[in-house]
Symmetry: C2
Subunit: 397 residues, 2 copies
């Protein structure tokens, strides 16, 4: 598939340190068929020739775990789910304020006021469509993988340029940022067992059977041992952002529901992410405990309105899997982006070259048996995938 408006993409499999790739990427145009308001499905076919399309541009990254299968299905289906969900609400999208009734018929004179009062805009329908599309895609993956006896899951980070706005929907630990001339705009935040600890612990509080007596829902700074029993140690429960001291009972020696810190944090000792698609069959090893109830497939959607910003020639959207962000922070990536684009102003392939450059930075260089970054920190051993999407001279619909 051709990249819309010359965006750049690069990936490297396990930093070329093995052959097993779990990252997947997708990009395409999304054509949303406009329905004539007030026409039934069958009447509509009569005027199909006059039907107009709204065009969106879509890029997505999927970071698989437990195999590449879920990521592959998601990369083949998510854009279709988004197209479908957008078409379901397209009648409300073309005006700034969506009508209370999709048909456009006004049942109650004050309907527009109710919609106004709730501050519902066309962009809210796109956000809702993306939220519903992720949920739909998760169901498709569940059915598909059950039918084919495949397993595994994936994170999903999707960007949609539609009607003059950029929507970034994220479920997992990939990240998207806008690198603008003067500043960086984060377009996503990461969902991990650590960042979603309270949601996960709360679920275990509401449904203790989900832990089947094998895990403790409490968080402790480290795994407890026999010597800790009877002592008061630091802990957190679901309702706490702060910490307290708890007298350790024998049940607290069980493995914690959320455990570890940073990249080592795990949900049920099993997963490093708390949102994403798939994992319908995933069980904690050697148990009957399902992981899926603790996972969410719902993305957080951030919106960037181009009408409110003066976009410069070198402004870009950077999307990348955690392989990049584990070793490079936003500021480091922005620095590479700005200096690379300034030095390569005329190269028609400069966005692809920049994507490669970012991937190579995170992959590092081999020194002896280790892969090292320029600053002699350890490089990324994960799959690394990067999109560089120019924001200037974007195609207008």
């Amino acid at each position: 598939r051709p990249l819309p408006w010359g965006a750049g993409y690069a990936e490297v499999i396990n930093a070329e340190k093995s052959e097993f790739n779990e990252d997947q990427a997708a990009c395409c145009q999304i054509s949303v068929r406009r329905r004539e308001p007030g026409l039934e499905e069958d009447e509509e076919w009569l005027i199909l020739c006059s039907t107009q399309f709204l065009t969106g541009h879509y890029w997505a990254l999927f970071d698989g775990h437990g195999g590449p299968d879920a990521a592959i299905i998601a990369s083949n289906y998510l854009h279709y789910c988004i197209k479908q969900k957008l078409e379901e609400v397209v009648g409300g999208i073309t005006e700034a304020q969506p009508p209370m009734h999709l048909s456009g018929r006004c049942v109650c004179d004050s309907d527009p006021q109710f919609v106004e009062e709730k501050h519902i805009h066309a962009s809210d329908l796109v956000v809702g469509a993306l939220e519903n599309a992720f949920q739909e895609c998760d169901e498709v993956i569940g059915q598909e993988m059950e039918a084919t006896k495949q397993t595994g899951g994936c994170t999903a980070l999707a960007a949609l340029y539609f009607q003059g706005k950029l929507y970034v929907a994220n479920a997992g630990d990939s990240r998207a940022i806008l690198v603008l001339k003067d500043h960086i705009v984060p377009m996503s935040s990461e969902f991990t067992p650590e960042s979603e600890r309270q949601r996960i612990q709360h679920l275990a509080f509401l449904f203790p059977k989900l832990l089947d007596g094998e895990f403790t829902r409490f968080e402790f700074p480290r795994r407890l041992k026999g010597d800790d029993v009877g002592q008061k140690v630091l802990y957190r429960d679901y309702f706490m952002e702060g910490w307290g001291y708890k007298t350790v009972e024998k049940a607290d020696l069980k493995y914690p529901l959320v455990h570890g810190h940073g990249k080592q944090a795990r949900l049920l000792g099993t997963l490093a992410v708390s949102r994403g698609l798939g994992d319908h069959q995933l069980k904690v090893i050697d148990t009957n405990i399902e992981v899926k109830p603790f996972l969410s497939c719902i993305p957080k959607v951030n919106v960037f309105d181009f009408a409110l910003h003066d976009i410069k020639e070198d402004d870009v959207l950077i999307m990348a899997t955690d392989g990049l962000w584990d070793v490079l922070c936003n500021e480091e990536v922005a620095h590479v982006v700005r200096s690379f684009l300034a030095e390569n102003r005329t190269d028609p392939q400069r966005f692809s070259e920049l994507a490669k450059c970012l991937v190579c930075r995170a992959r590092g260089k081999k020194r002896g048996h280790q892969w090292m970054l320029d600053d002699s920190h350890e490089a990324s051993y994960d799959d690394i995938s990067v999109f560089v999407i120019p924001l200037h001279n974007r195609e207008e619909d």
Copy 2:
């Protein structure tokens, strides 16, 4: 009780428009007894004479509903719960990094590293103590009101100055802001059926029986009617920040779990707040549906570290119930604060006078049958309570 360090307080009952007051205020010093680490309770009594105290300063506002009873109990108990919870963790509070074990004994050599890795600071123990204190106070209120056959609930906004930091814990729709020389620092956010819609809808999704078939968990821009059945109308479910269209079924005509907009928003058609204390017995009128499962008594705690800021002479903390904030925004309040304090630099009662001034502003003036603000908007008809707490020259422990 005397106000610590000369803070100002003022209140007005229903803007003096009736005699029924549901607001309550409290303020006091909190003395937290330090325990000698490693000593048992009974040994400790032997050295009580050498025991030191840590002193905190506490201010709180409670806005009652369904009668003043819960607010009165909360104003008498919350500071005691906070003192108790602070004493339970005081052994960990006096050092910058709390020990893994409250006893101070090190079970595992790397314990300090685990605590370090989790970024646990003494202030996290204070946050945890406040979270636990609200929960404890809610239980006390539940028992007390059951025993005395009282009913009702209240919001709670508590400020604690302790060990050089200001902690503001909020459960409800009161608000605290710092008015500093150059800017405003919001120290709380409001918890209402609208701001907590997704949490509330999600609970109804997980436990549909809580609605007893009488309510719909979906949100619509307005209450639906028979004419809407079969049509596609705007809606939101628990997982949506955006909006979608849903084909209306008969069940959607039920009263919505969260309904209305702004000050009219209601939980189960009953309550205007979604967090607070009390309401253990509250049922939806003419039904057996309990409201309490949808309420949270857990505060969100914000911390302000005075060591990181240069506090000027006229810098103050403003705490007020919704009676003030319904008619005055943060900027308007800050403007009144700054100009009043600049004009009354020598008055020893200036903070109390400022509190009165703010209350009078929100109460407005009677013109004919209506109470009006200076800008000829309608004034507040609610109870109004305001604390003005100077931050400069604060007592150090």
